[in-house]
Amino acid sequence: MFAYQLRLAWKSLRRNPGLSILSVVGIGLGIGVATTFVTTYYMLSGNPIPQKSDKLFYVQLDSWSPERSYDRDHPDLPPDQVTYRDMAEIMKSKIPTHAGGMFKADLTVHPAGDGQKPFRQLVRMCFADFFPMFDVPFQFGSGWDARADAGPEAVIVLDDEINRKLFGGENSVGRTLLIEDREFRIVGVLAPWKPLPKFYDVTNDPFDAPEGIFMPFNFVRPMEINTAGNTSNWGDGSGDGFEGFLQSETVWIQMWAQLEDEEQVQTYRAFLDAYVNEQKKLGRFPRPINNRLSPVMTMLKDQGAAPEEAVGVLIIAILFLVVCSVNLIGVLLGKFLARAPEVGVRRALGASRRWVFVQHLVECELIAVLGAVLGLGLAALGLELLNRMFEAQFAFRLDLPMVGAGVLLALVSGLVAGIYPAYRICRIAPAMYLKTQ
């Protein structure tokens, strides 16, 4: 019976192609806009590393002032970054599967090629564990090892974009690159990788693109590399000179640990508490112990990484879809009521009100499905447009769940738009139309 109703719906659409196209385009526009912004919201607020987000923990230690909390609006939250000395100490723990402090720097790259001028480039200073901990994909080579961390050895990893810019996208592993005044050997080139949000460092804009170059953290001291990210301090401020900065209470490093299970989490938590208690004996950590190990999604929520603008745009997009659906109600009502004589005949021949109602809903849903096909195409174009507008930051794509969401939105819209017209047509008195056709 459904196949018959679907066939009747298709015939009905073909009967008035202009009106049908108007209906499909109307709902398609709504679906296109709504799916585009549902997808952006989904990707901006979604889980950037779903395969292990519950095993990756952002480490926070409350080394802040006894006078006031770090965040006045959320006094229970410790600073969102750690000091260099704390990072260096807790990095000695062997409890986590992987762990690492990191920050971003802004360094000068001197390309070797003719005609290429030096340029400033954001560099992520990190440890070898960064790559396996965050499942960073490589197209050539790999990350460096712990020995390179300890050296430190002059090795770097490039991202796909910088590798294209400097080496035309070729396998550049083994080649060298002059950064500031040192020559670094390239050991790996990443495959395209743009986690949204950039969860491993949300202290600046969580929707910034990942840095183009990755360098062993321990070059921070010999090269006196300053952070290009946020710094916060209290007490004696940022210290005298670079070494003073490193030893100060300034928080500027993001610290992560990979912990496989609750037991490992508890063990590491105990280690952090013991470390802070030790530091308290030395006169540091004046506030009550408030160490935090936050899984990725908790950390993103605490740091407010979902952009409020995305929520606003999402609401507007859904409202636009509602307007499209309401507009469709009028179109369908006119179309269905014009068909009252045919419905009268069908009722006389044995169609119940319910059958007529369902038949017309099927037609609405067919319009919705066609609208979904058009809308998903428009959404793909819309997302591509956004990607081109924000090329460095975003890589929005219409994945399977979002295609499903688009189809679901279309079906719900078709249902919402179709219920009243279908109800009206199924309630007509057939006798009125049988004599007058």
């Binding site: 019976m1 015939k11 119940s352 056709q437």
Partner: protein, 239 residues
């Protein structure tokens, strides 16, 4: 087959109350071919709508094929319409998008028959009305008489016990009208009860019984004759 007792139908507007049927009583026996005549506005179509379960009424009782159908819900009345009643309309009322085959198929679709059973029934119905070769034609490609034959095929395809024909020859010339009457007689001869509304006294004479409607009341012309009705075709009507 059809037994109405004191059935009344009133159309109301804010200021006017129209008694379309004034407590009519009419019995139609199984296998009868009844012709109903009367001037426009006398209540013939209202009677057919109620007889076809397409309209409700204010007072009285209505039994169809032994079942009280006075107050049925929509699902039940739709089922009875589909299973027991075939309609033939003056303006044919074919669905223009559907070809002849699919038009005849419509009532069978609501019955949930398998494809093969439907096809056999449709082919048989089209053969009865002589339109097998036009199965793939659309209504606009047929003459008025052919369209009415399609409508008759659609009415009889589900083997209904009752055929209700509302001025089935009203839009046809006399030759075509006679052809349609031939068909209705043929259907009646297979045992189906036929109730036909017509303005044409000549065609009405071909029915086994005639009743007249006037101002919402039934006048049974047969009942006014001195001779008694033949066995099997007896009926009574009161207004």
């Amino acid at each position: 087959m059809l037994r109405m007792e004191k059935v009344a139908k009133i159309y109301r507007t804010e200021h006017v109350e129209t008694h379309a049927l004034s407590e009519i009583t009419l019995h139609v026996r199984e296998g009868e071919f009844l012709a109903m005549m009367g001037p426009s506005g006398s209540g013939k179509t209202t009677f057919l709508n109620i007889a076809g379960l397409l309209d409700t009424f204010e007072a009285g009782t209505f039994h169809l094929d032994g079942e009280d159908v006075s107050r049925l819900d929509d699902v039940r009345s739709s089922r009875i319409r589909n299973a027991k009643i075939g309609f033939v309309f003056q303006s044919f009322n074919l669905i223009p998008d559907l070809d002849v085959f699919d038009n005849v198929d419509v009532p069978l679709r609501y019955r949930g028959l398998a494809s093969r059973a439907r096809r056999e029934a449709i082919e048989e119905a089209l053969e009865i009305v002589g339109l097998t070769s036009r199965a793939k034609h659309h209504p606009a490609q047929l003459s008025g008489g052919q369209q009415q034959r399609v409508a008759i095929a659609r009415a009889l395809v589900g083997r209904p016990r009752l055929i209700l024909a509302d001025e089935p020859t009203g839009n046809l010339d006399s030759a075509m009208a006679n052809e349609i009457l031939d068909l209705l007689e043929k259907i009646n001869s297979t045992g189906a009860t036929v109730v036909m509304v017509t303005h044409d006294p000549e065609l009405a004479q071909r029915a086994s019984r005639q009743v007249h409607m006037l101002d919402g009341r039934v006048i049974d012309l047969e009942a006014e004759r001195p001779a008694p009705l033949a066995a099997g075709h007896s009926s009574s009507a009161r207004s």
